[in-house]
């Protein structure tokens, strides 16, 4: 439960070796590069390496064509599989790309051609559906020279008005009807065509051009079209097979080329972490970063094997404007809970890692609030499944939570809501007359609630102690002693709790003037005068220790802050009532499930199963969130402050940029 120790390193070498160095750093995964603006070297003659990446355009083209071809190139193994020594020239990769694109383009063109043909024929076929009642030969019809014909459709209302034009020189022939429209054709002499066209236009006639691919009679035309469609579809299928074969043919060289290009591209992208110095006699680079302390010697040895390259260590990290990043280091039990710490914010490099404490208290509180042997095992099993199949960190957390839930389920004697399923075990094996804690018994309700508050008080005290220890370690004696989460704050809190508990349990009143003055008022005054007292213990004189805004303003603000401190002590303590509340509500919800199951006699098993699943999902989610709230608000606020930045290896840096 700590922060991994890091060493600041400076890598310097010949410019020609930069790519090899970066390639090694990518594989190593224990090197965190720093941007040059944050290190000292920017103040000298070194300049950032800001060249345009020559690989990015070709890489984008590879990605585009690969996606189009249906296989986006896999990126996972590019770094492991490849080394710079196996790279080809960029021209070679361009040739592979050009050859593939050319062959694919030809087949794609054929594919589009057949698709268009199918679409055209299907459109004509759709149109022909309306013409199917016409028993005419279209070739002969359209070869007529003395009269015009117009195919199209007319609204039903407009067709009724044709009766008004009985004496006009046209022949009207409807051949298909829809609800609102009639498909029809009209014939007229060539010379009269403008007049008749105008007449029909005034009635809203929609002229439809008969597609040129329609020949002979409608039946034959339909058959021809269907044959054309079938032929085009088979050609399309053949083209598709050819494209598939092409993909197989090119897959290996394509993916190989992509992998190499990706590596070259990534390496070039990481040039931004280097700065260069170029002279007529020298072309050097410098790169700065952090390496895990335990790995430093191996890293140095491997780097110095790369041609003209040297590595300078700065184990003390002194004289640097860089603050080291934070990499958490925890055991197998608390490791998954780093997720929550990262959610809140990483600790500073020199700060306290709360992961282990959070892991234990989170599991404890969750187990208390979700205590059920059967449900706990199910949660663990589900968590295991999530971890195995989807590699979800939450799955690992659920495994631990489920175990604690099961343990507390044993205390409550609850198995999938059956409150007396473990009674034989208690009686015959453990020799108890009944289960240890009967949550649903009315006489135990207050005990549960008070116990929850008591647990909360203990956790708050522990949190304050942790704060005191960590502030002392940081040599921040002002906060260690005089803050509301310091020694005097703890003294006040314990004094109040102790006197209160004693007063309620035994009736003894400890609130004598001495007790109040020494253990309540004095600590509060110390907290109120935190700033001047802190300055005094740092060695300042009394005069210099006075607040810069004057005692008047300081005291005015301080009193209000003190009131807030008192309220927060009270509210934080009472907040843990929810732990007891959820113990009771969990049992209560299961009893409701059983009441419902009794109503459905024939389906009671189903109701119990569904009820359990529902309660697990609902209560599990709510309890998880509530415990996290307790952790972040009631506990973290007392002993933990974030402010660290994460340790990101070069490889992870690239993954982040790739999105």
């Amino acid at each position: 439960m700590s922060v991994t120790k890091l060493t600041l390193v400076h890598i310097a070498g010949d410019r020609d070796n930069l790519d090899d160095v970066i390639s090694y750093c990518l594989k190593d995964e224990k090197f965190h590069p720093e941007l040059p603006s944050q290190s000292e070297e920017m103040s000298t003659a070194f300049v950032p390496l800001a060249e345009e990446n020559p690989y990015s355009a070709l890489l984008a083209s590879f990605l585009e064509i690969g996606t189009l071809a249906g296989y986006p190139p896999h990126q996972a193994d590019t770094i492991k599989k490849n080394t710079l020594s196996t790279q080809k020239s960029i021209q070679a990769y361009q040739s592979i790309y050009d050859a593939f694109t050319n062959d694919y383009g030809i087949l794609r063109g054929q594919q589009d051609h057949f698709k268009n043909e199918i679409a055209q024929c299907e459109g004509a076929l759709h149109y022909l559906k309306h013409l199917s009642n016409l028993d005419v030969n279209f070739d002969k019809l359209f070869s007529c020279t003395h009269f015009k014909m117009r195919f199209g459709r007319l609204s039903v209302d407009s067709e009724k008005k044709l009766g008004f034009y009985q004496n006009e020189p046209f022949i009207y022939l409807p051949f298909d009807r829809e609800t609102e429209f009639i498909w029809c054709v009209y014939f007229t002499q060539n010379s009269l065509s403008p007049q008749i066209d105008s007449l029909f236009a005034s009635l809203g006639f929609e002229y439809m051009r008969v597609p040129e691919i329609i020949h002979e009679t409608p039946d034959k035309a339909a058959k021809n079209l269907e044959a054309m469609i079938a032929d085009a579809k088979s050609q399309l299928e053949a083209t598709h097979d050819k494209i598939e074969a092409l993909f197989w043919q090119y897959q290996e060289p394509f993916e190989d080329a992509y992998a190499h290009l990706k590596l070259l591209n990534d390496i070039f992208d990481l040039h931004k972490y280097s700065i260069g110095l170029k002279r007529s006699y020298l072309n050097a680079f410098v790169m700065t970063g952090f390496v895990e302390a335990a790995h430093t010697d191996t890293f140095k040895k491997n780097i110095e094997q790369i041609g003209l390259t040297a590595l300078e260590l700065d184990r003390s990290n002194t004289g640097q404007s860089l603050s080291p990043p934070t990499k958490l280091q925890n055991g197998w039990f608390s490791k998954p809970f780093e997720l929550f710490v990262e959610m809140y914010g990483l600790p500073k490099y020199s700060g306290f890692d709360p992961t282990a404490f959070l892991a234990f208290t989170y599991c404890l509180l969750f187990g208390i609030m979700f205590g059920d042997l059967g449900q706990g095992l199910v949660v663990s099993a589900l968590g295991w499944l999530l971890w195995k199949t989807k590699q979800m960190t939450l799955g690992r957390i659920m495994i631990r939570l489920g175990v604690f839930s099961s343990i507390f389920g044993l205390f409550y004697g609850s198995v999938f809501g059956f409150e007396h399923a473990l009674d034989p075990f208690y009686q015959s094996v453990l020799g108890f007359s009944e289960k240890p804690i009967d949550v649903l018994a009315p006489e135990n309700t207050n005990t549960v609630l008070f116990s929850a508050v008591a647990l909360g008080i203990i956790l708050i005290c522990i949190s304050i102690v942790v704060n005191i220890c960590s502030t002392i370690r940081e040599k921040d004696y002002e906060n260690a002693l005089f803050s509301s989460n310091g020694v005097f704050g703890l003294l006040f809190y314990i004094a109040v709790i102790f006197a209160g508990v004693l007063s309620v349990s035994t009736g003894d009143n400890l609130f004598s003037p001495l007790y109040i003055g020494l253990l309540l008022v004095l600590p509060l005054l110390a907290i109120l005068m935190k700033e001047p007292l802190g300055a005094f213990i740092k060695g300042h004189s009394l005069r210099n220790a006075r607040p810069h805004e004057g005692y008047g303003n300081y005291l005015l603000v301080g009193i209000f802050e003190l009131i807030e401190v008192l309220i927060s002590f009270f509210s934080n303590s009472v907040s843990f009532l929810r732990v007891g509340g959820f113990v009771l509500s969990h049992a209560g919800m299961m009893s409701v499930v059983f009441i419902l199951s009794e109503m459905f006699h024939s389906a009671s098993v189903v109701v119990i199963i569904i009820g359990n699943l529902f309660v697990m999902a609902l209560e599990g989610l709510i309890v998880g969130i509530q415990v996290l709230r307790l952790e972040f608000y009631e506990m973290f606020s007392r002993y933990y402050s974030a402010g660290g930045r994460p340790f990101v290896s070069a490889k992870s840096q690239l993954k982040k940029e790739d999105g």
């Binding site: 209302d157 009724k160 008005k161 009766g163 609102e180 105008s198 005034s202 809203g204 929609e206």
Partner: protein
């Protein structure tokens, strides 16, 4: 006071549901930014309550006239849906059909006078034939006013047309049509007002009468302005063409307006009436301002009235205005007007 029947209450409910489906300002804005009739058709089909009406229309080939016809048809079928709940002979609910009949007769008269038969036949709303007693095919065949009068034999319109035929022989073509139009409008408004008086009472009666009177005032104002501006007609002649239905524009005020020396003087006098409050500073289009006022009044009635007849008249009028709005948008886009210019022509 006669309470609404259960059927009439059903009409009220239906009206409110239909009102909720009318075009919103956002939809009008989208329509104004369309660039072509196919685009308008596609938008109406996909994004508005006109999707059923335009289901069979092909956006790419639809004709302007066809689109307008489909929209009018939809408005008419909305009316049919409403009156399904009340007997067709039930007074005021029949006014749409009555209005349609007069519109067809006047259209036929215009056709006969101007000789634009093809246009007339294209405009005939064939879809209303099942709901009216007149035979539309007979109108299409009428080539003279006498033939038209014969077509209207034994209908309530016959006397009106014969009276006008007798008068028209002494006038020019403009006077001919205006006389027919005035006569039929007077008949229309008289009939409607009588229906209102017979079937409604109290507040509802006043509201409906006001609607009719405002519409009459709108026609009068528009006519006076047009006759003075474009025809410089003398006041005596103008007076014969005024509809004798008055709201807050009393006969005295109307006479005063008619006596204006020219169109500008007319507008100046008009601004001093209650209509002046609704007229914009730089606007000369008084009738458009009255239309806007009427539109707002009808919206208010829809929102606050509970009388089925009032709701019915207000809704049908709004629906017709919405159709007119869409048609104005279509025309505006055809003539390349900017959205802001078209917006100024709409009822809003």
């Amino acid at each position: 006071m006669k309470l609404p029947t259960l059927q009439e209450n059903a009409v009220s409910t239906k009206i409110r549901a239909m009102f909720g489906q009318m075009l919103t300002p956002a939809q009008y804005n989208d329509l104004l930014h369309c660039h072509s009739i196919p685009q308008i058709c596609a938008y109406l089909k996909e994004k508005t309550s006109y999707r059923d009406a335009l289901a069979g229309a092909q956006e790419s080939t639809i004709h302007r006239g066809q689109l307008e016809n489909l929209l009018r048809k939809d408005t008419f079928y909305q009316y049919i849906k409403l009156i399904r709940y009340v007997p067709l002979g039930n007074g005021i609910y029949r006014y749409i059909l009555f209005q349609a009949e007069i519109s067809i007769i006047l259209s036929c008269i215009r056709n006969i006078i101007s000789g634009s038969r093809q246009e007339f036949i294209a405009e005939i709303p064939a879809f209303i034939q099942p709901y009216i007693h007149l035979h539309l095919s007979d109108f299409a065949r009428a080539e003279t006013l006498e033939q038209l009068a014969h077509t209207l034999n034994k209908t309530r319109y016959e006397q009106i047309i014969r009276r006008c035929i007798h008068v028209q022989s002494q006038q020019d073509s403009l006077g001919q049509y205006e006389n027919f139009e005035t006569a039929f409008r007077i008949f229309y408004f008289e009939t409607i007002l009588e229906l209102i008086r017979n079937s409604t009472h109290g507040v509802a009666k006043k509201q409906l009468e006001r609607l009719v009177q405002i519409r009459s005032a709108m026609i009068n104002i528009s006519r006076i302005y047009r006759l003075k501006q474009f025809y410089q007609m003398p006041p005596d002649e103008i007076k014969k063409m005024i509809l004798p239905f008055y709201d807050r524009l009393t006969p005295k005020i109307m006479t005063d307006l008619i006596q204006s020396s020219d169109a500008d003087s007319f507008l100046t006098r008009l601004r001093k009436t209650y209509i002046g409050a609704y007229m914009q500073e730089n606007s000369d289009d008084a009738s458009q301002q009255i239309e806007q006022m009427l539109h707002r009044m009808q919206l208010r009635l829809i929102r606050f009235s509970s009388n089925p007849k009032v709701l019915f008249m207000a809704f049908m009028s709004l629906r017709q205005m919405e159709t007119d709005n869409i048609i104005r948008i279509i025309e505006g886009i055809r003539y390349g007007l900017a959205p802001e210019q078209i917006m100024g022509l709409l009822y809003q």
